[in-house]
């Protein structure tokens, strides 16, 4: 069904194609073929399990960027109801690489904000490959301050290669836009839960990722610079991306063990792109848990705990 797969996914894809073939050829009443199909299906599961049990950091970085992976709008569609998208920073433009709006999680009204990548070529261009410009961060900031006014918890979904390195972005104060979000989010008197759903790319990710609770999906990544960027600076060649990915420790379990991440959210077998519904369902449970925990705190406690959390990075002093 899908033309795109990563090299290490190839055996899985081949096996799936075989199963599909058998199903088309076989008569559904043919017991032997049904048995064979079932045998292959369980083989497919164990094969996927074994491949995914042994992914390198770089492999995971590629899963995190998988073009079939659910994006923010997919999560919004499956997790929330009654979503009203809000547009524009009121200053310059509407940046389609960040979407945001009010919605309900179960019955509870919330503000949802996330990076959005595109699937078709036109949409990728429209979404600028999920790389926001200052107006994207300023829209997010506007929505977050609105969330505080109306006591809406903020759910942010992070999936960006990073802020867009362009001339206009610099002219309109990319640095200031990001810096301001960090400062504002540190003091907002409303709960903030951030989840890295794909790529957590540097300042462009953090600009909507200052939070009370940070989740990461199992095959998402979070780093100060892309593995390629790190490799081209420190190794003088982007070809060392694999080593850079390993050295920086960009994967969810690693960052959980280092104390940056509250919880790693399991993905469906073979990655979220293989089962959007299940990926969304898992995240929904975690978001419910998180909100329940945060809403037990008074707003003073909430903001103080967030401040302590932010200023205790890194904890070795």
């Amino acid at each position: 069904m899908n033309a795109y797969y990563l090299d290490f996914e190839q055996p899985i894809v081949e096996l799936e194609a075989k199963i599909e073939e058998l199903r088309l050829v076989g008569n559904s009443s043919d017991l032997n073929i049904n048995e064979e199909i079932n045998r292959l299906k369980s083989k497919c599961v164990s094969l996927t399990e074994s491949i995914y049990a042994d992914l390198s950091s770089w492999d995971i970085a590629r899963v995190a960027r998988h073009p079939k992976r659910p994006y923010t709008l997919d999560y919004i569609q499956h997790i929330f109801t009654d979503f009203d998208e809000l547009h524009g920073d009121r200053l310059y433009a509407d940046d389609a690489s960040i979407v945001g709006g009010i919605a309900r999680l179960d019955d509870r009204p919330v503000m949802v904000i996330g990076h959005q990548k595109g699937r078709s070529v036109q949409e990728k261009v429209k979404r600028n490959f999920g790389m926001p410009k200052p107006e994207g961060y300023r829209k997010a900031c506007r929505l977050m301050e609105m969330a505080e006014r109306f006591r809406l918890p903020i759910i942010s979904l992070i999936d960006t290669p990073g802020a867009y390195p362009g001339i206009g972005a610099e002219e309109r104060g990319q640095s200031e836009a990001i810096a301001r979000n960090l400062a504002v989010m540190s003091r907002l008197r409303t709960p903030i839960i951030s989840t890295i759903i794909g790529e957590g790319g540097s300042g462009g990710a953090l600009a909507i990722g200052v939070c009370d609770i940070l989740y990461m999906l199992q095959y998402s990544t979070y780093a100060v610079i892309s593995p390629e960027g790190c490799a081209s600076i420190l190794w003088k060649s982007a070809e060392y991306a694999e080593q850079a990915a390993e050295a920086m420790g960009i994967t969810a379990p690693r960052l959980e063990s280092l104390g940056f991440v509250e919880r790693v959210i399991n993905e469906p077998l073979g990655g979220a792109h293989r089962n959007h519904e299940l990926a969304c369902a898992n995240l929904k449970v975690a978001l419910r848990d998180g909100l329940e925990r945060l809403q037990k705190l008074s707003l003073d406690e909430l903001v103080e705990e967030r401040y302590q959390r932010l200023t205790s990075f890194d904890r070795f002093f």
Partner: protein, 299 residues
Amino acid sequence: MSSWLDKIMPSMIRSDSAQKSVVPEGLWKKCPRCDAVLYRPELEKNLDVCPKCQYHHRIGARRRIDLFLDPDDRLEISAELEPVDRLKFKDSKRYRDRLVSNQKATGEKDALVVFSGKVQSVPVVVTAFEFNFLGGSMGAVVGEKFVRAANVSIKENVPLVCFSASGGARMQEALASLMQMAKTAAALERMKQKGIPFISVLTDPVFGGVSASLAMLGDLNVAEPGALIGFAGPRVIEQTVREKLPDGFQRSEFLLEHGVVDMIVHRSELRPRIASILAKLCGLPQPAADSPTAILPEA
């Protein structure tokens, strides 16, 4: 007590300090902008500003603070903090080895120096980035020292001034370095809520994670002339957009034009200008000017 030891020790110390200021650099320095060959002692007397073309040469953190603060009542803050290589990071070199060689070369434990003191009698906490220490990159020590500086400001109710010069976040500390952006921004937001002034002075260069956090969050953002300041580096932008960058792109003057900084101030004017601004923001009388012989360059 004129023992053999006395005869040896002073000369060792003397040669040590002499080595720092003279030997590695030579007596002459070429101005990178106008190519003038400058006599180093004269350049230093001129605050490392080229007397021919006014190019502001980069200067180290301690010299920066030394030029800025009054001579009396200086106190260094959190000098003891040392970086830890938690990830055992290794690229073409080990991070640990890079730290040691940068510590040796600069005499600093990490890339930020913090002092409390006075500027023309206005009490102040001042932080300065050491660009020669791993490009002034921000890791956990820089973030922690900055937050401690902000905490002293809050506790003593005195303004904070930061001289930034940094390539951005420190990649060898990976995600911990990214988190320093949130950490320093959070501390500055606390200061802001308490009404304590923060002046961010951007000096050549300021990029990436430092630019997109503490350096842009000043009540006033001040830049030295001609400093290169931005989020993404010019080369990355050029490769991405595949067009020629406009003249003066990402220079201080460009930032002033685009509303990112409040003013551009010549190095020789920084001390009186900031003292005067802080005095106004703190409700203090106009500070007395320095005697003209003190630090001003020849007209």
